[in-house]
């Protein structure tokens, strides 16, 4: 008996959610998810700072 295929049947759910992104997030540990979020937030804040004078 083989393990169930962890890949989603389709890339998107019926309500338009990107299931590949969910699978990628779920493949990370909670610590890795936090690191990713932190990097994302820091990137956005850096862009905001760069454009703060406009």
């Amino acid at each position: 008996m083989t393990d169930p295929d962890p890949r989603p049947q389709s890339d998107y759910s019926e309500d338009g959610v990107d299931l590949t992104l969910i699978h990628w997030m779920l493949s990370l540990t909670p610590a890795e998810r936090l690191q990713f979020l932190q990097g994302h937030v820091n990137g956005i804040l850096a862009i905001q700072r760069l454009n703060a004078g406009e």
């Binding site: 759910s13 990370l28 700072r49």
Partner: protein, 165 residues
């Protein structure tokens, strides 16, 4: 502009022995939902010793209410003992201290619906589980809550299909 540092804030709370549950967007991310958030939402225990520890951390993080930043109003023990919401800005970014969430649920009510997670550098925190986050957002029914619900529901489905972290 203050920096954002979720891990440092959570480590300080953990090291100070503050009892709290991580809720909101960060809880959703830690549960594996691909959503974005800028603030750290926590529901702390509101007993006197815990509020004192929490106040100590907020003081160290130079936290004050972010609604009127020019006044730099700081919360005190009576504020944090209340069931209300305290939207603070700290040296680690926005920190929302929520006395209760949903229909008046406090720390003790949420505790059975949490998972303990290691979030890096040995820091362990209690995080609200995804099913409960979804239930609370369904109850709130605000536009922001409804917008994120499809992602949270699909994440829960995928988690249930295949064992992940």
């Amino acid at each position: 502009m203050p920096e954002s540092n979720f891990l440092t804030a959570l480590r300080m709370l953990d090291e100070a022995g503050v009892e709290f549950v991580v809720v909101g967007g960060l809880a959703a991310v830690l549960n594996g939902a691909p959503v974005n958030t800028f603030d750290l939402d926590i529901v702390p225990a509101r007993d006197e010793p815990n509020v004192a520890k929490l106040l100590g951390v907020i003081h160290t993080l130079d936290g004050f209410y972010r609604m009127q930043p020019e006044r730099r109003l700081k919360p005190d023990a009576s504020h944090l003992s209340s069931p209300g919401h305290h939207n603070l800005i700290t040296t680690c970014g926005p920190l929302d201290v929520l006395g209760t969430i949903g229909r008046g649920l406090g720390y003790q009510d949420l505790l059975p619906h949490t998972i303990e997670m290691e979030i890096g550098e040995g820091v362990r925190v209690r995080v609200l589980n995804l099913a409960t986050i979804i239930t609370l957002k369904e109850e709130l029914g605000g536009e922001k809550d409804l917008a994120v619900l499809p992602i949270l529901r699909r994440t829960l489905e995928q988690k249930q299909r295949v064992p992940f972290h």
